[in-house]
C-alpha cells in the first residue's frame, strides 16, 4: 500500500490566491467577513474571494462556465504549479492515471439564480449549474483521463473527496490526484435560504467582521464563504523519485455517518470518524497536536464537536490545540474541507497554529485548548494534525496529516 504525500497546494480563498499569504493573514487573525446585499430585509454578511477570472480564461472560454467552476480551475491550476506540474513542466504521467476528486455542495448557484430572476433563461444554464462541472473543467484543463469524480456531501464534500483521492493513491489506482473542492453560492436567493435555516450569525451594524465566534459563549452561527482549494496527492515513493517537495503525508482519514438526524450533529458519529482516522494513521490521540475544527459557531454544533473530541481524547484533551478558522474565512460549505485541509497542512509544514478568533469568552460547554492569536507556544511539537468536516446529512469526515 502506498503512503500518500501532499505535494501541491492551491487556493482561491477569501484571503486571496496565495496559500502562504492566506496562512499569514490567518495568523494575524484578519477576518474577511463583510456585509453583503444591503437590499435584503435582514442584514447578511459573507466572505467573498477576490478573483480575476481573466487570469485563467479568455472571454470565449467563459461561455457556460459558472464562478464555481472558474474558482476550481484556478485553485487546481495553482496546486499543480505548486507541485511543479504546471503547463510548461515536462510530464511523464499517463493521463489515464491522473484523477480529479472534487467536492461541491451546490454547483453553479449564480447560473441558477440568473435563470430564476426573470428574462430569458440562458441556454447554458444547465452545464453551468451542474455540480460536477467544476471537476470536469479541471479535468479538461489538465487533460485528466482517469476518474473525474464529484462528491456532494454538504459541508464534508471536499474532505470526502480528498479521502477518496487518498484511497485511490494508496491502492495505486491513480498516480496523481487533484483533490479538493469549490463553492460559490453567495447570491441573494441562497443567502435568503440560509437565513431561513437559522444557522447564520447575527451581528450589529459595523461588526460583521467578528460575527463568527466559534466556541464562544456569545456565538450565533456562521457566515457563508466562497472559494476553492485543491491539493495534489501522489505516493511518497513517486514524490521522492521526482524530487517533489512534500508538505505532509495524508496518513489517515475517517468517514462515518450519524444515521440519526438530517441536520442535527451527533457526537458518537463524529467520534467514530475521529477514531477511524487515528486507527488508519496508527496514532494515539496524544500524538495529534492540532485540530482544525469544523467549528461552525452554531449553538449546538460546537458543543457536539467538543463532546466528540472529548470522547476520543479523554484525559489528553487538553494537549490538543484547537481552532476553527471559519471565524476568519467563513464557511465554504462544499469547499470548506479542502480549504481547511490546506490550512492544516500549512500549520504542520510551517509549525504555526492559526488562531481561533473572536472567542473572548469561551462557552463552558465547549472548553477546548483553543489557539489564541499570536500564540505559538505549542506549535513546535506538533507532528500530526486533523481537520474535521461534519455535514448536514450526517456524514462526518476527518483528515489526519503527519509531518514528513
Amino acid at each position: 500500500m502506498n503512503q500518500v504525500a501532499v505535494t501541491g497546494l492551491g487556493v482561491v480563498s477569501p484571503h486571496g490566491d496565495d496559500a502562504q499569504a492566506m496562512f499569514a493573514a490567518l495568523m494575524r487573525a484578519e477576518s474577511t467577513v463583510q456585509p453583503i446585499f444591503p437590499e435584503l430585509p435582514k442584514p447578511a454578511a459573507a466572505a467573498l474571494a477576490p478573483f480575476d477570472e481573466s487570469r485563467w480564461f479568455t472571454k470565449l472560454q467563459l461561455a457556460g462556465v459558472d464562478r464555481v467552476s472558474q474558482l476550481a480551475v484556478a485553485a487546481a491550476d495553482l496546486a499543480m504549479r505548486d507541485a511543479g506540474l504546471g503547463p510548461d513542466a515536462p510530464s511523464d504521467i499517463d493521463p489515464e492515471r491522473i484523477g480529479v476528486f472534487a467536492g461541491c455542495g451546490m454547483g453553479g448557484a449564480a447560473a441558477l439564480e440568473t435563470a430564476y430572476r426573470g428574462g430569458r433563461v440562458p441556454p447554458l444554464t444547465i452545464p453551468a449549474f451542474m455540480p460536477n462541472a467544476p471537476a470536469s473543467h479541471v479535468a479538461m484543463r489538465h487533460r485528466v483521463q482517469g476518474p473525474v469524480l464529484t462528491y456532494s456531501v454538504a459541508c464534508a464534500s471536499s474532505a470526502v473527496a480528498i479521502a477518496e483521492a487518498a484511497k485511490a493513491i494508496q491502492r495505486g489506482d491513480v498516480d496523481l490526484a487533484i483533490a479538493g473542492g469549490s463553492e460559490a453560492l453567495i447570491v441573494p436567493g441562497v443567502v435568503l435560504a440560509w437565513q431561513a435555516m437559522q444557522t447564520l450569525a447575527s451581528f450589529k451594524p459595523g461588526e460583521a467582521a467578528t460575527a463568527i465566534r466559534p466556541f464562544a459563549s456569545d456565538r450565533s452561527g456562521f457566515c457563508l464563504g466562497e472559494g476553492a482549494a485543491f491539493l495534489v496527492l501522489e505516493s511518497t515513493e513517486r514524490a521522492r523519485r521526482r524530487g517533489a517537495r512534500s508538505y505532509a503525508r495524508l496518513s489517515g482519514w475517517g468517514i462515518s455517518s450519524d444515521a440519526t438526524h438530517l441536520t442535527k450533529p451527533d457526537a458518537p458519529g463524529q467520534a467514530r470518524a475521529l477514531r477511524a482516522a487515528l486507527r488508519q494513521a496508527d496514532l494515539q490521540p496524544r500524538d495529534v497536536g492540532y485540530c482544525n475544527a469544523h467549528g461552525t459557531a452554531t449553538r449546538i454544533g460546537d458543543v457536539v464537536e467538543h463532546d466528540a473530541l472529548a470522547a476520543v481524547w479523554g484525559s489528553e484533551l487538553d494537549r490538543l490545540r484547537v481552532s476553527s478558522t471559519k471565524a476568519l474565512h467563513g464557511h465554504l460549505l462544499g469547499a470548506a474541507g479542502a480549504l481547511e485541509a490546506v490550512i492544516t497542512v500549512l500549520a504542520l509544514h510551517r509549525r504555526q497554529l492559526p488562531p481561533n478568533a473572536h472567542a473572548d469568552a469561551v462557552d463552558p460547554a465547549c472548553q477546548l485548548n483553543l489557539v489564541r492569536a499570536a500564540d505559538d507556544s505549542a506549535a513546535s511539537g506538533v507532528d500530526a494534525a486533523i481537520s474535521n468536516s461534519f455535514a448536514f446529512g450526517g456524514t462526518n469526515a476527518v483528515l489526519l496529516f503527519s509531518r514528513g
Partner: protein
C-alpha cells in the same frame, strides 16, 4: 443593410475578439468557438435583434454565414 458589422461588434463585446482577428469567411470553430460558445452567441444575437434562430443555425461556422441568416430573419420580421 448587412448585420455583419454589428455581429463583429457583438463578438468583440461578448468574447473579446477583435473584428480583425476573425475573418468573416473563417471557421469560428477553428477560432475557438466550441458548440457551447456558439449556442450562447446565438442567444445573444436573438436578444440583440429580436429574432428567433433555429437549432440548425448552431451548425453555422462563419460570421458571413451567420450574418446572412440574421439578415434574412430581420427582413422576414420587417415584412
Amino acid at each position: 443593410m448587412s448585420s455583419l458589422k454589428e455581429l463583429q461588434d457583438l463578438v468583440h463585446e461578448k468574447f473579446g475578439i477583435e473584428a480583425s482577428a476573425l475573418d468573416p469567411g473563417a471557421s469560428m470553430r477553428e477560432k475557438g468557438f466550441d458548440s457551447l460558445a456558439l449556442v450562447e452567441f446565438l442567444f445573444v444575437i436573438e436578444d440583440r435583434f429580436g429574432i428567433s434562430m433555429s437549432d440548425e443555425d448552431s451548425n453555422i461556422d462563419t460570421l458571413a454565414q451567420l450574418s446572412a441568416v440574421v439578415d434574412k430573419l430581420i427582413a422576414a420580421k420587417a415584412a
